[in-house]
């Protein structure tokens, strides 16, 4: 399991996964940790290798005082669920069937596993008196303290599956220079409020996208917590950022981009950018 930017990425054919994360300047000033998390794995399956990747953003509001743990549990449990279901996920499925499987089986499994992991964490480490005072003030269920978003991607040679709850961004970069944001927009996200794994209706709040690489050859998939998009000067940013990334991958090469990604991420998280925790996974296909 890879969960931090200082771990060198491992190439997994046909996908190479680059990861970077930076603590937001506003979080640093407030004495808060980086409440983002990321993880990815190469899965051994009956077929060709699959890659699963996830980022999560723990909510910064004080009522989510264990959001950092919640985000880490989210990416860990999401990757583990995909691994458990990997052999069922892609075998003989159409795009529509894959989306239905994700909605009916994968997403409920992820939410259930996360809630179970949260309960175990809470049982092993009860709230401190200070934490309990915050929780009691708003009469929250303990799970609320762990609130986090989740962006989960499964990448195979043919299919890309993305499931997202809460804010953050997913951009698909195509070999022909196009850039798309495949996950449907959630109109309830207004920049302050977000849907969350900690909500009772979490399963229904997931948004899902499936891309068939046979029809649309994706060159790279970018997953990012909202600190990245909120820092971009261009508006809308995905076409501009995506087009530049495609160009950079073509002209400068993967290793250069690998070296630059932590620098870009730091800039996004700085006082020049969003000031928010920023985590990016860029999965690049070998084509």
């Amino acid at each position: 399991m890879r969960t931090s930017s200082d771990v060198p990425p491992i190439d997994a054919q046909p996908w190479t996964v680059l990861v970077a994360s930076a603590r937001g300047a506003a979080h640093a000033a407030a004495g808060l940790p980086n409440q983002d998390a990321s993880a990815w794995r190469v899965l051994e399956t009956l077929g060709p290798p699959l890659v699963v990747a996830a980022v999560a953003d723990g909510h910064g509001h004080p009522r989510h005082f264990r959001a950092e743990r919640g985000a880490h549990l989210a990416v860990e449990q999401a990757c583990a669920c995909v691994e458990r279901l990997a052999d069922q996920l892609l075998v003989g499925r159409s795009g529509g069937e894959l989306e239905a499987f994700a909605r009916e089986t994968l997403v409920p499994s992820v939410v259930q596993a996360w809630r179970r992991a949260v309960a175990a964490d809470h049982a092993a480490s009860a709230f401190t008196p200070d934490e309990e005072a915050i929780r009691a003030q708003v009469a929250d269920e303990p799970v609320i303290a762990y609130g986090a978003t989740l962006l989960l991607a499964l990448l195979s040679e043919r299919w890309l599956l993305v499931a997202q709850i809460g804010d953050g961004d997913v951009a698909a970069l195509f070999a022909d220079g196009r850039v798309e944001t495949p996950v449907p927009v959630d109109p309830t996200l207004d920049g302050h409020y977000t849907t969350s794994l900690c909500q009772a209706a979490a399963v229904d709040s997931f948004r899902i996208a499936v891309i068939d690489r046979a029809a649309s050859p994706v060159l790279a998939l970018l997953l990012a917590t909202d600190g990245f998009g909120n820092a971009q000067a261009s508006d809308p940013w995905p076409p501009a950022v995506g087009a530049d990334l495609i160009s950079m991958l073509g002209t400068r090469g993967m290793e250069w981009v690998r070296g630059q990604l932590p620098i870009w991420t730091e800039r996004c998280a700085s006082t020049e950018g969003s000031g928010d925790d920023t985590t990016v996974i860029l999965a690049v296909h070998a084509s």
Partner: protein
């Protein structure tokens, strides 16, 4: 850096200034002084915090609304040109609210913009009571950015404090700020502008906001707050 670089998140700050006939003279002079005094202090706050770039617009309103500063201007670059009261002008707030709603409506603000902040300064009760006023407020709260906007009101003179201003604010825990005389306008405007900006940048802590507005708090709203659940 792919995409053209990074930038702070825009915080759209809109002042709705009452320029009706009753503002003529000392009150308008005091309001102009207050806004001119407020801008550098808001710019200083912008420099000190870590997230937002404050972009200011000003709408003057009387019988009809008129943009005094139509395009969003970075607070540090705005050179204040005095507002003028409209002789015989009414305090029609409904059209003014619709004008603001149109300015920040769907697809008008950047996706990454913080919640807009709206500060209403008036010395009188609205003269367009009834459907017009309700329609204006309805227009402003009919889309996500308008609903999420942080709204404060300064009443110049105790008579200006009305039920409508409470409806405009939309939160019973947040008081109308009363400037009992012209000398208090500048002080109240600075406190309100920075309070509303801090809240938009940092999240909602209405208790701290109330304390700051009433001068009973020590530290003001917390700046570390951000996302919570829908």
């Amino acid at each position: 850096m792919p995409g053209g670089g990074v930038a702070r998140r825009p915080l759209h700050f809109i002042i709705m200034a009452d320029c009706s006939g009753s503002m003529t003279g000392e009150r308008m002079q005091a309001l102009n002084y207050a806004i001119a005094d407020m801008l550098p202090q808001l710019a200083e706050w912008e420099r000190d915090q870590l997230v937002a770039q404050v972009l200011v617009r000003v709408l003057s309103f009387a019988t009809t609304p008129t943009w005094h500063v139509r395009e969003p201007v970075p607070v540090g670059e705005l050179r204040w040109k005095p507002l003028q009261a409209v002789e015989g002008g009414y305090t029609n707030m409904g059209p003014a609210l619709r004008e603001v709603a149109a300015a920040i409506g769907p697809d008008k603000l950047e996706n990454r913009a913080l919640r807009p902040a709206i500060l209403l300064v008036t010395d009188g009760r609205p003269t367009d009571l009834g459907n017009e006023l309700a329609a204006g407020l309805g227009a402003l709260t009919s889309f996500p950015a308008g609903r999420a906007s942080l709204r404060l009101a300064i009443a110049i003179g105790h008579d200006a404090k009305s039920e409508f201003l409470d409806q405009f604010i939309g939160d019973p825990s947040v008081p109308v700020i009363v400037a009992g005389n012209t000398e208090e306008i500048a002080e109240r405007l600075v406190a309100a502008s920075i309070a509303v900006s801090r809240l938009s940048e940092g999240g909602v802590d209405h208790g701290a906001l109330v304390n700051q507005l009433l001068g009973t708090g020590s530290g003001g709203p917390k700046e570390s707050e951000d996302h919570t659940i829908v």
